[in-house]
Each structure stands twice: as structure tokens, then as C-alpha cells.
Symmetry: C2
Subunit: 551 residues, 2 copies
């Protein structure tokens, strides 16, 4: 391996020793809690997971010395990057080494496909050392192959047998952990002797529930975005001439956007879940924005910040309907594809849409309407993730403000800058919180494996306390499941957590947003993540977590 | 004043005591160096600045106690934001207080127009306290009004007389400091008794010369952008599926882009000054990029990073020519404006261009060609700064790769993400370097004023040494001047510093760039600015400065 050139911070961070719960320091005993039930659809889930359903909650506490059997483990990084993945692996490595020095750790390369295609490396002390406390998933790479088919499971069992691997750790989001549970059940049913443990990863923050307080990476990613938003807000209030429209990654859920709003207090922040609950139209959203802009302009303030969640577009009922119609209409439509000019294509589409969707389509800015009709994926589907919602809103807001200006109801200037933040945060150097949390998750996964467990998610709770007081254990994955329709089929899945409108983070936001919007604003400038300073600066969890836990 | 809600880092940074050169601790004596000459056009500059030409270099050293006359001072923030502006003001405030407790500091509001329009506040201890070590220019706001006309100078003198102001400090870039010098000369000639001192500000890094080692804000802004580039590189090498095209602010000069490349070692980095020196065409640039992409694809690496300076487009000779022709052609052209469709407008333009420009125009992607012809400013001029060069390059590279693929010479996949970073860094919390440098600049400005100096720029040098060893003094602004054509008129101006192709920063880059481009890459991940950790992490100046000083 070619040695990397390293920045001073990389060098300093390599020396950081992640904190783990005091209960994991030294010898440990496993205690069992009550048996569990799935959050819904108990009978169906139980039927689908006869071997792994109903298992008890597990907790590790201080205990007496004990010897553990040798375990060879394979680890997989699944899906999008999240800060801290390398620390899950280093915690897992160190845990395995400590529990039995003969243990080995393999890394499957390029995500779940590495298991199926038998691509792997052994993770040695030297390799792991290069990646401690770093961002990224580059130690073994990640991938989006879904482990769903029995032939994939069998191929996986084949390589495990060959390498004498006793357990697989899957580091992933809700879908990957659902698949981890299916795999655990299958391997139990087939008596392969291969255990499967999951770890809760995703910057989107949508893998959380009664038992899992937060997914890893959410803390660091939000702090990076909030740093940038704070910097932009300071720029806005210095230059006093731009409205900054800032779209944030996070897929369907608005957790990232809400957390960034709590950290930075922008003038406006849209939460998709609220848009859906209130059945808001695109025009409603535009009107809400315009109201704030006009009010601030009346005080001579022609600047501000607006946060927009990536998934917004899918939560607007009329847009959802239009996209569904377009997908039905345009997929594999040779007539349409043979039309020569963009204008003719747009006319064709208008003629075929329902009256309601046609009206909505007509009202869209031309650029966005083109994007919807022309930029389709290989199957003819609209590419929702490519729609630059921030530009859509800018165009519509500008149009509405021009009308108000003509009517003498708006006298301000409206100049805008647009931003999209996502890739800037997924591979940041993990915050102390994520560095400690991830290392503890990995260490706990080693314990669960050594105790012979399968179908569990590694769990660290009490996360608003200092790391020493965190609680380590395991949660049966079946406990988090229900039955949902996915791509037209009813399936057992881990419930995806959207922003709860009656949850404390949203309630705090909705209580204060008018104060943030008005002429006084109340920007906070979080600044960059700090690793070495006072604990109040370096070790705070997210505002979301603090509010959820009653702080 | 409404108290701000503050982040933990804001609270902690408020306590930071900036370091100043040891020579400024305690009592100080002013020593004079040799008389100076302008860098060029000595006779003309001397004629234009009879009072302020040829003054000696100044240096402050440890001295004996001395009493200074009372001075009331007005301070102005001019032009774009740069991290550390608030620290110049707090250093100035503290210096004035220390030199004579009766001194007062006023802030002119909203930039130079505050002086002309008599808008100001007195900067009290309480106000300054709220802004110590923070980013932004919001303490008094900034603006882009140019102080160039005698009636403006007279209006300024009027308010200075009224408030009994003896000196004005102008914190700005090369143009603002040029104007500061004109103002100093004018006030001397008119015997107003008003001194004028400049401070070197700009994130762009293009205000530097023999005497001024760097402008403030460059350090912090580059570190913010390099943090983001590093994070993106880690994402690229983890996901292994995107080429990230990253455009960086910096106006004409490529200093920011070069510094970011030195900090992060991307696969490709374009330097405008090299493009111009080699008389490169857009196609040359595209071919250079394509070569690296094809080579990496041959090793199965379909990802990477490309840094692009904001000013690139203006350094491509053919583009410069096209833009000039379009401006001549379209400004106030009613015939053109009356044409109905975009297609007809493009046809009209093609018919009117020179053959050479027409060919170049034809080869441009349609979106960019439209932007050039359709999105013009109120005077009919092409809006160069709005041209998304990163998207232009993506389109052209994609087209070329498709050709190569058809010829069987390229077998990779080409998926891209584009970014533009600028507003994210201009108001960041200043790094320790900028916090110390700016505070020292402000403190030194107070000394220069108390010593009765005018037409000087506050200067801190020896910046690669620890702050204690920095050297404080003053440089006559006339010394940095030459005569240049600006908007068709010959004018005395401070030379703008572009990237020197024979300078150490560029030489280091050009020596190593092939290693960074190839299949091994060699990304560095700088991570976020740190304020509290080891000195090697927290107190390093830019790589540009270190290389320029022989480190």
C-alpha cells in the first residue's frame, strides 16, 4: 500500500483514542432483557422470521473474565457514505482482537457485491491503522447491490465457508439492515452457522426508533452543512444583497434540514413532512416564502436564507401526481421519443395529461417542465433527484414578487444565490461524537458475535450523556419491522423514520421560526467541527437528539 | 442591540486573545527605513502623488514610553467580505485605547458610501466585544462604492471635521487601497489634517507584493474550500463513480485554486495564468482533462476531482474575443431585442460574428451559447461571472469522451457532479492565522495614525514565523503602484498580483501534478479549520506563503 500524504489534522486525528462506555472497559457480561415484538404486523413478521423473531433485548455490563471462541468475521459497507464507517471497522477490529487474539477480520470489497462475488481482503492491524478516525468508506469501498435473493445468500455462505467466516457485519441504512435480518434468518434456517449483525448507518437520520437513538454520520454531516449555512448567513447579513436558497441532501426525510435549521436558525426552512401533512401546494410554499421576503423588504432587508430538503418535490401532492402520470405516459413511448423538437414534445405531453396535472405542468417554470419531460432515466422515468428544487422555487418566487411589485405591494430587490450541499458532508472527518459512537458500535458488534448472537443490530444508547455513560447492547432487528408496500409488493421492512410533527425538534422549530424569519433574524454561526477544544464545543450531540431526550 | 444567540464555538472564540508581534507588546518606537520608489512608472506616479510619493518604509520596534496625541478615527470596510475584518477593527480599537484612552473609533456604515453619505456609528467597547474573532463584515457592513471623485472626498472631509476625525482606515483590496492613497494625497494637498491608512484585504490573494506578504482572509477562505474539496475527494474515492468538477471563487487570479490544489492534491487543476501564457484554447483544456480521465479509466478508476478557477473563461483568448464581439454587437441593439425566439436570436448572432468567433461559438454547448447571447446585463453586456464554467467543461468533456468511446479508445463511465464554492468561505470564522494577522494589522494601523502617518498601508511581515516574531510597520502605498489602462483610461493603480508561473507555489504544483493525476492519485484531506489543537494543526499559514518563503 502506497503511504498517503497526510494533512496535519489527519496526522493528529490518527492518534485519537475513541471513548467507549465504561461498561465495555475490561471484562463484560451479557444480560438479557424482556422478549420483544415487532412494532406492527406482529403475526406476519413472526411468520416470516420464525428463528429471529421475539428475541430479547441485550445489554453488556461489567462482568468477570471470560474466554470467547475464535470468530472470523467479514464486514460490509452498504450504500451511501457516512462519517464514522472506518471507526465502526476499527472498533470491530479492536474488539475482536481483545476478545480473542486469534480472531480475524475480512472486508468484503465494494459493498454487498463483494460477498456475492467473493471479493475481499483481510483487514490487518496496519491497514486499519491508516483509517482510524477518518471519513470515507474507502478502506474497502461501498456499493448499492441489494442482498435479497437466495442465490446471493448461498454465494455468500460459500465464501464464508471457504474463509471459515463465522459472522458478517453489515453497516448500512434501513434497507440494508432489513436485508441483514433476512440473511440472518436464512443462515439460521439453513444451519450455516453464520451469524449476521447490523450497524445503523446513514447521514439522512431516517434510521431511528425507540431503540436506536440515531444513525451514525448524521451528527458529522449536519455539522458540516450547518458550518456552511452559518458562513453563508454571515455573508448574507454582511453583504445585505442576496437571498440564499440552500438545498440539503437527506432523501425523503427532512431530518438533516431540520437539524441544520436548529443549529443555524435561518429565515425560512421548509420541512417536507409538514408540507405533506398540510396538503400544501407548490403555490402555498411559494406564498409562505414570499410573505417573509416582503416583510423583510419592508424593513429594508433584501437578504436571507432558505433551507430546502432534497426530498421536498415528492411530498407535494400535485407534483407526485404529475410525476406518476409522466412516468406512465412516457416510459417506453416510441411515439413520444420520435417527436423532433422540445416544444412539440411539451405540447404532446400537455395533451395527454389529466386536466389537473396539465394545469400544474403549465404553471411550472419552463426549465423545470423540460427537465420533467426530457431528462428521463433509461426506463423513461422522471429523475426526481436531479430536479433542482431550489431553482424551481427561485423562479416561482421571483415571478410572484414581480407581480406584487407591479401591484405596488413589494418594493424590495430580489437577487439570489443557490446552493446544494450533500457530497461535502458524507465523508467528513467524523466528529468526536461520531468517532466515539461508531467505534463503540463496532466494538459492541464484536461482543455480540463472540456471544453467538445473530439477527441483532449493534446498539449504543443514552447518547446525550458523556460517552463513558453510554449503554451498549443489541436490538433484535425484527423488533423494528413492519409490513409495507414497496414497489407494489408487501414486504417486511424496518420502518423509515420521517420527521415527527409532534416531536420536540419540530415543535421547537415551529415555535421559533417566526422569530427567525422576521426583521430581527437570529442567525447562529456554528463554525467548523472542532476536535481538540472545550467539551462544550467538541462533544455536543445534535440538537435533534438533545431535544428528543428532553434537553 | 439585541443579543445574538451564539453557538458554543462562537462563545469560546470570543475569549480568544489574538497574538501580536512581541515588538508591539509594551512601549514602541518608530524606525524609518530607506525612501521608496514605485514599482514602475516612477516619474508619472511621483507627479500624481507629490505629497505621498517616496516616503520611507516604517517599522515598529520595542521602545520607551511615549505619549500620543488624541486621535479620532473612522474605519471603512470596502468590497467583498473576507474573514478577519472584525479583528482588524478590534485590533484598531484596542490599539487606539492603549495609545491614548481618549481616542475614539467611528465606523462608517455600508462601505465607502457611509463616509460620503455621513452614515456612521461610534464603535464602543460593548459593540466591538460582540465581534472579536468572528467572521463577516456585519459590524458596520461593507459596500462597493468607489471613492474616486473629489466631491466624495469633500463630503468625507465634511463629516470628519464635524466628528473631529483625524484619520480614516480603509480596509479593502487593491482598488480600495489605490483610492485610499488618492484620498491621502488629496487630504494632504487640501490641508485637511485627515490621515488615511489602508489595510490589505481580499480572499482572492491578488493583493500581495514585495512588501505585503499576503492579504487577509485568503488563509481562512482557502482552508474552508480545501476542507470541502478534501471531503469530496474522500467521497469520490469511496463511491468510485463521480468526477467532481469544482469551480472556486477568486476573480481573475487563480491563487485560491492553486492554494486549494496544494492543500488537497486533486487529480486535475486548471490555472488561468498558465492557460493564457500557453495561449491555450478551450479544446486544449478539454483535451488535457480527457487525457487524465481516459488514463484513469484504463485502470478502472472512473472518478476524480477537477479544480477550476472562477476567472478561467476570461483567460481563453478565443472566448475573450467572442465576448468582446458580442458586447459590441448586442449592447443596445434594438433589432436583436425585437427578435422573437431564441433560435432566431442565435442565427442573427452567428451571421454577425467574425468567421473565427462564429466557429468558436458554434462549437460551444447550446446552454452556454444561449447564456452568452441571452442573459445580458442591463447595458447589454455578457455577464461573464454568471457563466458556469464547470458545466461548460463537463459538456465538452462528455462530448469528446463519447467520440473516443465510439472509436474504441475510451471504455470508462463518465458521471459528474458540479460544485461552486465562494460564499461558503468569505465569512468563515477567521483561522488563528487570520485572527492574529488581522488584529496585528489593526493595532499597527492605530500606531501609524498616532505617529501622524498618512498614505501608508499597515503591514505585518515575516508571517511564516510564529506571531511573536512578526514584524509590524507601514509601507507607502505609492510604492506598490504603476500606471495601467483601466476601462480605457491610463490610471495609477496598485499592481494586481496574478499567479507567477515561475513562483514556487506554481512550480511545486507543476512538478507534482502528474503524480496527483495518475492512477495512484494522492489526495490530501485537510479537514475543518481547528482553533484549539496542536500548533501544527491550528497555526500553519497557507502552503502558498510557505513555498514563497522557501519552506
Amino acid at each position: 500500500m502506497k503511504p498517503m500524504t497526510k494533512s496535519p489534522l489527519q496526522i493528529a486525528r490518527a492518534e485519537y483514542l475513541p471513548k467507549i462506555p465504561t461498561s465495555l472497559n475490561g471484562d463484560v457480561v451479557l444480560t438479557k432483557g424482556a422478549d420483544t415484538q415487532s412494532v406492527a404486523d406482529q403475526a406476519e413478521i413472526k411468520k416470516l422470521f420464525p428463528q429471529t423473531y421475539g428475541m430479547p433485548l441485550l445489554r453488556f455490563e461489567r462482568g468477570v473474565k471470560k474466554s470467547y471462541p475464535v470468530k472470523n468475521v467479514g464486514v460490509i459497507l452498504s450504500g451511501g457514505q457516512a462519517p464514522g464507517g472506518h471507526n465502526v471497522i476499527s472498533g470491530l477490529f479492536d474488539g475482536l482482537q481483545k476478545l480473542n487474539p486469534e480472531n480475524k477480520l475480512y472486508g468484503f470489497l465494494g459493498g454487498p457485491s463483494g460477498l456475492v462475488e467473493h471479493k475481499y481482503i483481510e483487514l490487518t492491524k496496519q491497514i486499519v491503522a491508516e483509517y482510524r478516525n477518518t471519513g470515507g468508506f474507502d478502506i474497502i469501498g461501498s456499493g448499492r447491490t441489494k442482498l435479497e435473493e437466495e442465490w446471493q445468500f448461498d454465494k455468500g455462505a460459500e465464501i464464508c465457508k471457504k474463509l471459515n467466516i463465522n459472522a458478517i457485519v453489515i453497516i448500512g441504512g434501513d434497507d440494508s439492515n432489513t436485508n441483514a435480518c433476512v440473511l440472518a434468518e436464512y443462515y439460521l434456517q439453513k444451519n450455516t452457522g453464520i451469524q449476521v449483525i447490523g450497524c445503523p448507518k446513514t447521514i439522512d437520520g431516517d434510521l431511528k426508533n425507540e431503540m436506536i437513538e440515531t444513525s451514525f454520520g448524521f451528527d458529522t454531516a449536519c455539522k458540516v452543512y450547518a458550518e456552511l449555512i452559518g458562513n453563508i448567513q454571515r455573508d448574507a447579513s454582511s453583504a445585505k444583497k442576496y437571498w440564499h436558497f440552500i438545498r440539503l441532501m437527506g432523501r425523503s426525510a427532512s431530518h438533516i434540514t431540520l437539524e441544520c435549521a436548529l443549529q443555524s436558525q435561518p429565515n425560512i426552512c421548509i420541512i417536507s413532512e409538514e408540507v405533506e401533512a398540510k396538503n400544501m401546494t407548490l403555490n402555498n410554499i411559494v406564498e409562505d416564502i414570499v410573505k417573509v421576503i416582503v416583510n423583510r423588504a419592508n424593513f429594508g432587508l433584501n437578504f436571507g436564507t432558505i433551507l430546502i430538503p432534497e426530498g421536498l418535490i415528492e411530498f407535494i401532492p400535485a407534483m407526485k401526481k404529475l410525476i406518476a402520470e409522466l412516468n406512465d405516459l412516457l416510459a417506453n413511448n416510441e411515439d413520444f421519443n420520435s417527436l423532433l423538437t422540445d416544444d412539440v414534445k411539451r405540447q404532446y405531453v400537455k395533451a395527454m395529461l389529466t386536466a389537473e396535472s396539465c394545469q400544474f405542468f403549465r404553471d411550472l417554470p419552463k426549465g423545470i417542465a423540460s427537465q420533467l419531460t426530457l431528462d428521463r432515466d433509461p426506463h423513461g422515468n422522471v429523475q426526481v433527484s436531479l430536479i433542482e428544487t431550489e431553482k424551481l422555487l427561485i423562479e416561482m418566487v421571483a415571478k410572484r414578487l414581480a407581480q406584487l411589485k407591479a401591484q405596488g405591494e413589494y418594493k424590495g430587490k430580489f437577487a439570489t444565490i443557490n446552493h446544494f450541499f450533500g457530497y461535502e458532508g458524507r465523508c467528513a472527518i467524523p466528529s468526536n461524537f461520531d468517532a466515539n459512537y461508531c467505534y463503540s458500535l463496532g466494538y459492541t458488534a464484536a461482543l455480540l458475535i463472540s456471544e453467538g448472537k445473530t439477527g441483532y443490530m449493534s446498539s449504543i444508547s443514552n447518547l446525550t450523556a458523556p460517552a463513558e455513560e453510554w449503554i451498549a447492547g443489541g436490538v433484535p432487528i425484527t423488533m423494528m419491522m413492519n409490513i409495507e408496500r414497496r414497489n407494489g409488493v408487501m414486504k417486511p421492512v424496518i420502518q423509515k423514520a420521517l420527521v415527527k410533527l409532534d416531536g420536540e425538534p419540530f415543535l421547537f422549530f415551529s415555535k421559533h421560526r417566526n422569530d427567525w424569519a422576521d426583521e430581527n433574524s437570529n442567525y447562529i454561526y456554528p463554525g467548523p467541527i472542532q476536535y481538540f477544544g472545550p467539551s462544550a464545543v467538541c462533544d455536543q450531540p445534535t440538537r435533534t437528539l438533545l431535544l428528543e431526550k428532553g434537553f
